[in-house]
Symmetry: none
Subunit: 400 residues, 2 copies
């Protein structure tokens, strides 16, 4: 039996209001004269909760594995990411509310800029304004024609969009066309299995037409990644017996929450707006997933000071979040994004568990170094949900 | 390959005398002004062993999971409780030496007291004297009649008994009839699968008859839980290549030891009597499981001082236990039972490993806070047995 199945069986109701607060990309890279952003940040509220709760570190997937956002969040929601794979395409679809059907093939689109020699000049087309994205997505939607295949192009935000193919005998086993670096040509959508050859040809046809349609536009091509299809995944509210609310500022996090069955109001403009939603709707829910994006964005940009400021901003909002009625809180990240590396990384992520029967380690500082000393130890992300639910009185005893 | 299979393959003989000392319900709930019972206890002997050995914490099943005694002990014996499930019924049967056959359905019985309105007034019938239990079990055994089904009722101790049904097409997938609280009516034995419907009707028939037979008695009804059947489980002595002795004061712990193939003298009256058995028989054995029940009983009763006293009592007996010839010792609990919660809990359990090649952490105090700092870290219970056997020279190298 997998742990997550057991946790599902043991779920029981309680009066607690549980919150999973994800500071995206929270973890940093410290030691040897380096400081992590969390260690540098002034976080009096999180430090107070640390003293009253317990600390540790988690590996989102497994030690050494750098996760994408999908895998990172699956782990936090208590699903072993080695058992459930969700591609970026399926996440994008969920994020914009596009309902994938079995057999559909979906991919994440980046509108990009190619140089005159056909190499990638900017993978994000200068973070294309959303209005331009909508216009270009509309053109692709209207003008691309592939016999026997329906094509859907949906704007997400800035340079990001969703692409879906619907037809007979499609398979998602394709390599990304996004080379992840500039100065080289986009890749072909390479089939990874024989049955994806047909789909590869369809995607190539789409790309040839897109190249013509977008010629001369601010974004003159698209990069595709995360080919995926519809996935059946156990629903979070049923599994844990909770009424579950997700509040997030970015469509992708709305999307993964929606895939798992959370009630997902549309993406919010700010964490303050997210808190306002929690305050209004907390009475209807037992569990709140609160996603705060900015530490990751800053880390990805290599901006240490901005990541520190983002962490401090959320710290300042923690009392207001708790004041909505939250009784049990897990604060962590979906992965580390050290600004020194300007990318997601494999470093374990700080964890703070507070409230209910969570023991108090008596460590009054929330950062990587202090988390190493905490009683949670170093666990897999999917082992956190049982502790959070247990501390909130939501898990019955196993066995006689 | 599961870890436990590897450990079995690597087992080798040695001259060591290994002891697993289980202080039932050892772990507590500390911090935030709370103190754990172990931290409050004066334990000079365990503290001395702590200084000479190494410390850590274990999760009996997994982080966040509150285990019953069966799952808790399976973990300590090196079996992943997520892979082996043993119900209370099978444990009770083993405890009283009743040999379940494949197809039997067994349940743990509580003799209880119903109020005039049919609701449960006392789940334990005032901890019914064992002599009364024997008389009432005898009446049920003699007077209940179910066509085509053999019924066995066996006294355990106080209010506890074993009930076994033997017949065609029986299935153990039934819900407990014990509502776990007073003031409500006992539950019906709800079938969890279609094939258990027939068994549900048989159990209901037993309960209707029991109600009539016990009318007017000190215990006027029975509550059933942990429906289970015969389980094949790898035997401990064969797996680890040890001659294994279990000394315990309660039938259930004798029972689980017997299920796993330990040599199990009848339940003892006191830890002193258990030590006397070890002293007499140590020459015949390589491994001793020593079960000490009282910290759990006190914790369950919410009695902090009595749990402290129980821990101190066992601490005082440790030199005598070691003097029997024990060379390697693992001291821990099967789960936590904080008196503040008056119940089993999910909190990780202190671990002390001493002797042979166990490293010395140099931490001279055995309690939760110091165990957090120990070199064992926080592990699953089933990861302790390999360390205990290794420290005792009983595991060969894996691979060339």
């Amino acid at each position: 039996m997998m742990l997550e199945e057991l946790v599902g069986r043991l779920s029981q109701p309680a009066d607690s209001k549980v919150c999973l607060l994800v500071l995206d990309g929270l973890g940093g890279f410290d030691g040897m004269g380096r400081t992590s952003e969390l260690a540098a940040a002034n976080t009096p509220n999180l430090d107070r909760l640390a003293g009253e709760g317990c600390l540790g570190l988690h590996d989102p997937v497994a030690p050494g594995i750098t996760p994408g956002s999908g895998a990172g969040h699956l782990g936090l929601f208590g699903y072993d990411p080695l058992a459930y794979e969700i591609g970026r395409g399926a996440l994008s679809a969920a994020g914009v509310g596009f309902e994938l059907r079995p057999g559909d093939v979906a991919a994440r689109v980046n509108f990009c800029t190619l140089a005159a020699d056909g190499t990638v000049a900017d993978r994000r087309a200068g973070r294309l304004p959303t209005a331009d994205n909508e216009r270009l997505a509309g053109r692709l939607q209207a003008e691309v024609k592939i016999p026997g295949v329906e094509v859907f192009v949906r704007t997400e935000r800035e340079h990001r969009a969703l692409l879906v193919f619907r037809g007979e005998d499609l398979a998602p086993d394709l390599g990304d066309t996004d080379p992840q670096v500039t100065g080289v040509a986009p890749l072909e959508p390479a089939p990874r299995t024989p049955k994806a050859t047909h789909t590869s040809e369809i995607v190539s046809s789409f790309l040839r037409q897109a190249r013509v349609i977008l010629d001369g536009e601010a974004a003159n091509f698209v990069l595709l990644r995360g080919f995926d299809t519809h996935r059946a995944i156990p629903q979070f509210p049923e599994r844990y017996g909770v009424r579950a609310l997700a509040v997030a500022a970015y469509p992708m996090y709305v999307g993964i929450s929606r895939l798992l069955g959370f009630t997902t109001p549309a993406a919010h403009d700010s964490p303050e707006a997210q808190i306002a939603t929690v305050a209004t709707r907390i009475g209807e829910f037992d569990f709140v997933f609160f996603h705060f994006k900015y530490p990751d964005s800053a880390g990805e940009d290599g901006d240490f000071a901005r990541k520190v400021a983002a962490i401090e901003r959320m710290d300042g909002l923690v009392p207001e979040l708790l004041a909505t009625g939250i009784t049990n809180l897990l604060v962590t990240g979906d992965h580390s994004t050290p600004s020194q590396l300007a990318a997601h990384s494999w470093h374990p992520v700080p964890v703070l568990l507070w409230g209910g029967s969570a023991p108090a380690d008596g460590i009054t500082r929330f950062d990587e170094a202090h988390c190493r000393q905490g009683s949670i130890g170093r666990v897999r992300a999917f082992e956190l949900m049982p502790m959070l639910l247990a501390s909130a009185g939501r898990l019955a005893k196993y066995g006689a």
